[in-house]
Assembly symmetry: C2
Homo-oligomer: 414 residues x 2
């Protein structure tokens, strides 16, 4: 079955916004047996919108759009679907009551322009939006479906998971696509490719290889009548991949390095603390992106100046001798974080995020250390990149390393 | 002039990759006077590619594509352009010599499949690629241009800046598009819209309104023969917007809350320290996303447990009396950060990021405090959202508040 995605909004065409909704929906549709063949970004122009919806509706069983459901004159998604269907938009009393209730709760009068968010056409059902004022539309005609949702990614995700996905699943039973991802670090793309080469070039299951900032990912994609049958197709490939790459694997499927670290810390009943300079809090923030991280993460120090490093337990003699950007100081930071904050493990990160070199060390120089039991594990790198990339890569590097360290341990320690 | 963008690759349609190239190119084209009307993502399918290039080439003066220039059988961008133009791909001896040289330097034999990266059609010139094996194509026919580049964003950026942009600039002189953004917080989209309603619905300058996590943005877009003339068109609208919305404005154009705060702290010669719990380091990380932030940011404490809060100077009596999730503790955190890390200003953030309530306070409850001179400024909120959104919104809220506070000060203090 064919599906396509429309992302609507002038700000997309101006490059002011990166369209993450399309990638999210595209990653969901294979689970329902849909193959996405086109993704189109189009502006808030009624002729273009009618053209885009029309073309998509003619060639695909399912069209999913996001954006253009706001209250202003610019927001024309509803109008364009109504025009394409040759139907008239009418205010729905139930939707209007809901909308008025939202504004009553917010304690502000409802601007008249918001009324169009309470409209429907005869072929449309409203998709509830628990987070915003704009309900979506589920439009069904001639055996085809248009799903339209607002632009904010949080609203899209909640409406998709809570309402749209279950209904599509009910409607389109009978073919599913299952994917399995294996994430590795430590080998080049070519080396990984050679180790699993017998599985390339097949249609079902299909094996893809992708170079990502957190290493080389393999993805096996299988399609079958049922989820079980698809998993059965994947199983032998998955087993062979794991046998071939075992020491380099740090996670599976949607697992992020921080989720892998979190699961392993819980399993081993260990706690963690951090002290970071060049990553400026991104390490702590990434660790705490995982729900439940307060079970194992004690806290961290962002030592953006040497003064704060010393205040937090890094010996000033060490900074004088080796410089703040050094393996020795990374170690002392890991140790100090662990001691000061009373955790089982400590991570220390120091480096140069730019814009200019520090202590004669060039931008992109990074030292990290993990302190665990009586051992210190180092990972250092010279990252040839921009500030945000240096921060992000450093965090990924040290978390993947910690995941591999913890995965190598046999059982709970303490 | 009309332009459109094609992003090519199966991984885009599978949702495995977010397409950042399209946003990058879309943000560049207005500077050359191009209006981007369509962005299309299409898979590695020759029929779809010919269809997409054909439609784009017929309706736009300029088509820019990325992706599909690799060495494998999957990479069909060249083949599809050749088919559309009715021309034949031939190996270019100069390109082949270059390619062989790249592999010689890498010390590996060139796989035969790479040879197609050395091909051209009669209408195409090669666009040099300093970072990879795949040159781009500059295809010119019937007064229209197709620019095709490989997929990796680093290669795209370098080829665009170093080669494509200057050539397009030379070719298409005489029309520019200038934009001006005004960023507000504290009013709804509809309320902002009503205050500036006289400017909507015009073509030049065009006024757009956008709801973003950091408030409501207005964007004025003008086109003219010269940059000066375009700015002249924007000026009266900009002035009227500022007059209408002055107390709610926190920044302009591409300015982020953290950049606004950074510029104001430098201007006032003030330093900042933070203590945060529910945002888990994201506040520190956001502040340090600004190059040069080490001039004013001393550092921070991520107090993810009460133990770490107390270790860092928050009185345990206060936590016992009011709970860790309270205005009183947010204040104490702001004060402790300021005192402990020796900064002029302190920010404290405490709240419940989820997944479950804490101390009987529901997910999304957030207390922040800014300690400056003898005053404490509070901002609290109940954010009805997911973990990442609570973290991000809280950071934005407190930084926008700090920017507004600092903007209200007449001159350097300290």
């Amino acid at each position: 079955m064919k599906a396509e995605i429309l992302s609507i909004g002038r700000e997309l065409l101006m490059g002011e916004l990166v369209d993450t909704n399309a990638a999210y929906i595209a990653s969901q549709l294979p689970r329902l047996g849909f193959e996405v063949q086109w993704i189109t970004q189009v502006g808030d122009d009624i002729d273009h919108l009618v053209e885009a919806f029309g073309r998509a509706f003619r060639r695909s069983q399912l069209v999913v759009s996001t954006g253009g459901l706001g209250p202003t004159q610019d927001d024309l998604t509803r109008e364009s679907i109504a025009r394409l269907m040759g139907e008239e938009m009418k205010v729905d009393p139930g939707l209007l009551a809901n909308l008025e209730e939202i504004f009553r709760r917010r304690g502000i009068p409802m601007p008249p322009s918001n009324i169009k968010q309470a409209t429907l056409i005869p072929s449309a059902k409203a998709i509830p939006n628990p987070r915003g004022t704009a309900p979506g539309w589920w439009v069904e005609k001639d055996g085809r479906i248009i799903v339209t949702m607002p632009g904010p990614p949080g609203e899209v995700k909640e409406m998709w998971e809570g309402w749209v996905f279950p209904r599509l699943q009910e409607r389109f039973k009978g073919q599913v696509i299952v994917t399995r991802a294996v994430k590795t670090l430590g080998l080049t793309e070519a080396a990984v490719g050679e180790l699993v080469s017998p599985f390339f070039g097949k249609e079902n299951p299909y094996l893809g290889i992708y170079a990502k900032p957190d290493g080389i990912h393999l993805r096996v994609i299988a399609r079958a009548q049922t989820e079980e049958a698809a998993r059965e197709l994947i199983r032998p490939v998955d087993e062979a991949i794991r046998a071939a790459l075992e020491p380099y694997i740090w996670g599976y499927d949607d697992e992020t390095p921080e989720q892998a670290v979190g699961a392993l810390l819980k399993q081993h009943k260990l706690t963690l603390a951090t002290m970071e300079s060049c990553t400026g809090g991104l390490l702590a923030s990434t660790i705490t992106d995982v729900p439940g991280s307060s079970e194992y993460y004690k806290g961290g120090i962002v030592s953006y100046t040497n003064e704060v490093k010393e205040l937090s337990g890094v010996p000033s003699s060490l900074i004088r001798k080796y410089g703040a950007i050094s393996q020795e100081v990374a170690e002392a930071m890991a140790q100090a974080a662990r001691d000061r904050l009373g955790a089982d493990l400590g991570i220390g990160v120091t480096g140069v995020a730019g814009p200019s070199e520090v202590e004669g060390k060039p931008v992109g120089t990074v030292f990290t250390a993990i302190s665990m039991n009586d051992t210190i594990r180092h990972v250092s790198s010279r990252l040839p990149a921009r500030r945000e990339v240096i921060k992000r890569r450093t965090v990924t590097m040290v978390l993947v390393e910690l995941a591999r360290l913890l995965r190598a341990r046999p059982g709970p320690v303490g």
